[in-house]
Symmetry: C2
Subunit: 266 residues, 2 copies
């Protein structure tokens, strides 16, 4: 039987899920199944949940982030094995900061600071509107322009850069036309030439690219190893020829790619 791990929150549960998964990733031998329970925001919901959990074997582990002290106490006293990060950190943090806390629900994943929230939303729309090189006239307003072959991760990375960091990222796919130019020792694609300082080239190993493309279009020429190798070779050559900074994303998640790019921007 897999051990169940609950993420319990009186709000979205995003933070407690993140910390719980980070901790669980340190237990590679553990066979477990996670259950996210968001919006547990009254005593009745806490008690129902605690009763349900108490009946399960093996005994589940609960990570919780309950802002309301009464709900937290109810869960802790129900006999459920529970780790709550507000419980853990609030008192030592009060002492370190020299100020008292005032429990407030759902502030972190709420809109919070409207200026910064709207900036992030604007950046998401920017990424959608400037995806895939079809519109290039707003490149001047971008913080960053990602280039790379199809399915190297440009689109999700640009969206994540907007969502998480409020960074305005456009992306431009390298196609055969661009390669022909570059191959002939000519010039960068017209749309990119004026923005060389904003370009980052994503590089990816052909076998990884092949795996990603095969999920999209199995058994196609597009997903063949030859085609992937051909395109990645040309992309690498283009990056070298025009001295474009490169990030190897072969083993990276988009969260990792975005974090690296933001670090470079600074």
């Amino acid at each position: 039987m897999k051990r169940k791990v609950y993420f319990v929150s009186d709000h979205t549960g995003l933070t407690v899920e993140a910390i719980g998964k980070a901790l669980l990733s340190q237990f590679p031998d553990l066979d477990y199944q996670t259950v996210l329970v968001p919006f547990v925001d009254d005593l009745k919901k806490v008690e129902e949940l605690a009763r349900k959990i108490a009946l399960e074997t093996p005994q589940p582990v609960v990570f919780s982030s309950l802002v309301n002290g009464e709900l937290r106490a109810a869960l802790q006293h129900s006999g459920v094995r529970c780790f709550d990060f507000f419980e853990t950190y609030t008192a030592p943090l009060e002492s370190a900061l020299g100020v008292h806390s005032a429990p407030r629900l759902g502030k972190h994943h709420g809109i919070g600071d409207p200026g910064s929230y709207h900036n992030r939303m604007h950046a998401v729309h920017f990424a959608v509107d400037n995806d895939d090189g079809t519109v290039t006239r707003h490149y001047g307003e971008s913080d960053l322009i990602l280039i790379g072959v199809s399915r190297s991760g440009k689109t999700p990375t640009c969206l994540y850069l907007g969502l998480q960091y409020g960074v305005r990222a456009a992306n431009y796919p390298l196609t055969d036309d661009d390669f022909d130019l570059a191959d002939a020792g000519e010039v960068l694609p017209d749309a990119l030439r004026a923005y060389r300082g904003k370009l980052v080239g994503l590089r990816i190993e052909p076998d990884q690219l092949q795996r990603i493309r095969a999920e999209r279009r199995p058994n196609s020429r597009y997903a063949s190893l030859e085609q992937c190798r051909h395109e990645t070779d040309l992309a690498d050559a283009l990056y070298r020829r025009f001295d474009i900074p490169v990030l190897d994303v072969t083993a990276m998640s988009i969260e990792e790619i975005a974090a690296r790019l933001v670090q470079r921007l600074k």
Copy 2:
């Protein structure tokens, strides 16, 4: 002087930033400034950072998530005031789970389980490809179709649903053509009729919509309160007429909207 709060990680820092901000949101009177320091992955970087922090007044608070015990110890023993959640939770978790941990770097925000990661990436591409009602022929493959007026939050929510939850969400903007039909007591827009079970209508208060639109196109008819009121009235009427489930997103962030939608899907 604002108090500096550092988020220090040997990886992206996304988790430690989330938990730190959630905790800080409980201190409404604290005047602080956050500094994210990702990829602190060797002793030299830890020592440099600790030296820098030690010189600052008022004394900064550091939230860290250092998987490597040696780096963690170096930071803790440098005299910096530090809260590390691996330090806090690893031992009690080992005892609760009855298994030992094995420090592994960057598992949580890495690719992790490739199946689930690729499903999320696929869902992001799905959201981009099925944004804004221009392409409707893939609606059959969607988990959810959001409808609403321009800038009610459809696009960022669909992208977030893909990124965070792997949910395939399309969105369809309500325009004057659709309103004319509905107003005449006619029918749902053609593209939506076959998928009534997947529809969720986003509703938003006109003054909030007006604020959002004014940031995009100040002083336009599009951003006028009259126009916003006109459109939201018609949208509400359409939801009622066709008995479409509604989510009021006026005061919600996209993280909150997405969490609510996922909860309904279950």
